[in-house]
Subunit: 202 residues, 2 copies
């Protein structure tokens, strides 16, 4: 059976990767979203079937010990990780999987999973990014300045990625992601079964 692939979607905070992914997943049921495992209690508005799988810190460290994460990270006392088994299961069953993650996490996944195809979302300009962050109205001027500097540094790491999508138009960006994933499925190594079928029907 042809194997599936792991796609990594990344980009600076405010680049719109979350919106692009949600729009993309609406029309593409043939790809699975990788959930994150997190060592913090559920919030009231969360359920186990949302983007996070909640476990206790003890459980997380136990999984980590068993090498069950493609990457993990500690942030403000909580652990976040990308579980390995669901990705391997999907891929071995010919199903594509996609994970949304920050630039550091993307680098770590690539180390443990070099076959992953990685996509980097950039805002059309840092000026636009600044306006978007101001528009959110959730951060101080100082925090925004910090985020912009971080975005600049992250964009300097775009060369670590296979594909770059500019999010100047949501619909176009979603189409771009679609082209990347669709074209990957047309690669020779993913079409061997088809070729065998074609030749068999003499």
């Amino acid at each position: 059976m042809n194997k599936g692939r792991l796609f990594i979607l990344s980009g600076p905070s405010g680049s719109g990767k979350d919106t692009i992914l949600n729009e993309f997943l609406k029309d593409n049921k043939d790809i699975k979203l990788s959930m994150s495992t997190v060592s913090r209690p559920m919030r009231k508005d969360e359920t186990q079937d949302s983007k996070y799988h909640h476990v206790s810190k003890e459980e997380f460290l136990n999984l980590l010990n068993k090498n069950e994460f493609l990457e993990y990270n500690e942030y403000l006392g909580n652990y976040y990780g990308t579980p390995k088994t669901p990705v391997l299961n999907a891929i071995n069953n010919g199903i594509d999987m996609i994970v949304e993650i920050d630039v550091n996490g993307a680098g770590n996944i690539r180390k443990s999973f070099p076959d992953a195809i990685s996509v980097f979302i950039v805002p059309p300009s840092l000026k636009t990014l600044k306006e978007r962050l101001i528009g959110r109205g959730t951060e101080t001027e100082e925090q925004i300045e910090k985020r912009l500097n971080k975005a600049f540094d992250e964009i300097s790491r775009a060369n670590e990625f296979d594909y770059i999508i500019c999010n100047d138009d949501l619909k176009k960006a979603v189409n771009d992601l679609n082209s990347i994933i669709k074209s990957n499925r047309l690669k020779y190594e993913r079409q061997i079964e088809l070729l065998e079928r074609v030749q068999k029907t003499c």
Copy 2:
């Protein structure tokens, strides 16, 4: 400036590569079709601006001598070649180029131009191909049998290609070709200028 790319479109006779390419080109004016140079006189229904550029045999051999072809071929006393200079000019100006060619020709272009991205069109089955060839009504049973054997052998060479498109539905096949070419433009190495622009606009 970001460079363009050369795309090769190939496949067995009757796979529908010609129709796919014509449909694709209707909606995509940002890619140039590579013309073939042929050492035979123009037919009455041909003009110099169609798919072939007609030259005398002497001119052809002169161009060949100057290493002006990416590949060439002799068939029934006439020479056919894919000129090199228009491809290099387009690519150096950031323009994508596409050439439609048989499987042998595709292999020869790949040798002289390893950066080319090659796409192979297959019919959904050899049975369908047989029906299409019969439907054309231009060949004897023996000729059709010969073509089918050739198609079988050519499909065995699909592993020389980067991408495989199954032509079971014309619209889908055109979309597939579109995804391959579009996604290639999103590769990191073709987005460096964009990234520089994004970072400049602090």
